[in-house]
């Protein structure tokens, strides 16, 4: 398979990590040679702050998880650090006996564009627009590269980890 970097197997699922510049080739290979004709989902994930100490998951000492503390509940290793900030997971399905599924994964940094897969699976159109809108990942070759869920003039990409949750502080009547 073109551009394959590694194959991960976990929880019964196969993840194929590919080199980002060869994503389009890999997608074509998966669709034509391996028969994954159905693109189920494109999920973009932001890993900013993944292994830092003050995000969720770090209970116990400021230095991190303490193996002797009962609250670690047996999950005693630090999360594997990620090489780049964003991962794009393309969930593919082959519509045949056995329903084979695979996750095609590409890693990008902030500002790095990715090739659009609209020419391979037309359904990628709106999924990529959503990834651009909410995560700020650019897709080269996307015919309609616009925001889809937020307002057209919205600034920022809401689902990034450095974008605040927003909202209002809740006022309680007793405080007055």
């Amino acid at each position: 398979m073109p551009g394959l970097v590694e194959v991960l197997e976990a929880h019964g699922e196969t993840t194929l990590v590919v080199d980002t510049p060869r994503l389009l080739e890999a997608a074509g290979h998966l669709r034509d040679e391996l028969g994954f004709d159905f693109l189920s989902d494109i999920a973009a994930t932001d890993y900013l702050g993944w292994d830092s100490k003050d995000v969720s998951g770090y209970i116990g000492t400021p230095a991190g998880r303490d193996l002797n503390k009962p609250s670690t509940q047996g999950h005693q290793r630090l999360p594997r650090p990620k090489a780049r900030r964003f991962s794009l997971s393309y969930h593919l399905l082959g519509m045949r006996e056995g329903a084979p599924r695979v996750r095609l994964q590409a890693w990008v940094d902030d500002g790095e564009p990715v090739q659009s897969l609209v020419s391979v699976w037309p359904t990628a159109d709106w999924h990529e627009r959503e990834a651009w809108d909410l995560m700020g990942i650019r897709f080269d070759g996307h015919p309609n590269h616009r925001r889809i869920l937020m307002d057209d003039d919205w600034e920022g990409h809401p689902l990034r980890k450095d974008y605040p949750i927003g909202g209002e502080p809740v006022r309680f009547s007793g405080e007055e």
Partner: protein, 194 residues
């Protein structure tokens, strides 16, 4: 007519839970109404008009999210809002009296909501149905409007996520009682431009 001294809303026929607690003094709502300077005189004719307004207050089809499904079920035969003359949900806001904002309002939808509200003709009432319309509900975030009363003047808030059809009907009945008692629609009280 402001509320006369010593009289309370229930003396004007408004049935609320205060009926069960007669010793309770006037609450914030009643004091607020008493402080209204522009009084609406309720002559016999006005009383008749108010009564008629409640008997066929047509809602606008403004279903947004989950609450819309429960709003649809008050039209169904079990909860039957046709008893109140309200089964005619108008699609055009120009023909509607009541705007039941059912569902979460996000910033992108706030402009169409305000536009629809503006297109309605006076007198018009707004029910904020559900927790999301009343206060943003469980979605305290960058995109959800924390309560639709930030942009329109709300008469009745109905709590619930989603409120049962009976709860929505209770809200509608309370609104009717409000109107019959002579309370002006919310845009006059709140001073929100309409």
């Amino acid at each position: 007519m402001a509320i006369e001294e010593g009289k309370r809303l229930r003396d004007y026929g408004l049935q609320t839970e205060r009926l069960l607690w007669p010793e309770k003094g006037p609450g914030v709502f009643e004091q607020e109404v008493a402080a209204i300077e522009q009084a609406v005189g309720l002559t016999t004719l006005a009383k008749a008009v108010a009564w008629a307004q409640t008997k066929s207050m047509w809602p606008d089809t403004f279903g947004l999210a989950c609450c819309a499904i429960e709003m649809m079920s008050i039209v169904s035969s079990r909860y039957d809002i046709a008893r109140f003359g309200m089964e005619a949900f108008r699609s055009s806001p120009r023909q509607a009296d009541l705007l039941i904002v059912s569902g979460r309002v996000v910033h992108k939808m706030a402009a169409p909501l305000r536009q629809v509200y503006d297109q309605m003709l006076e007198p018009k009432w707004v029910i904020a149905m559900g927790a999301c319309a009343s206060s943003g509900g469980m979605f305290n975030n960058y995109t959800t409007l924390q309560g639709v009363d930030k942009i329109v003047a709300v008469d009745v808030h109905v709590p619930g996520c989603p409120p049962r059809p009976e709860a929505l009907m209770e809200g509608i009945v309370r609104l009717h009682e409000k109107v019959v008692a002579g309370v002006p629609p919310a845009y006059e009280i709140r001073g929100v431009s309409s």
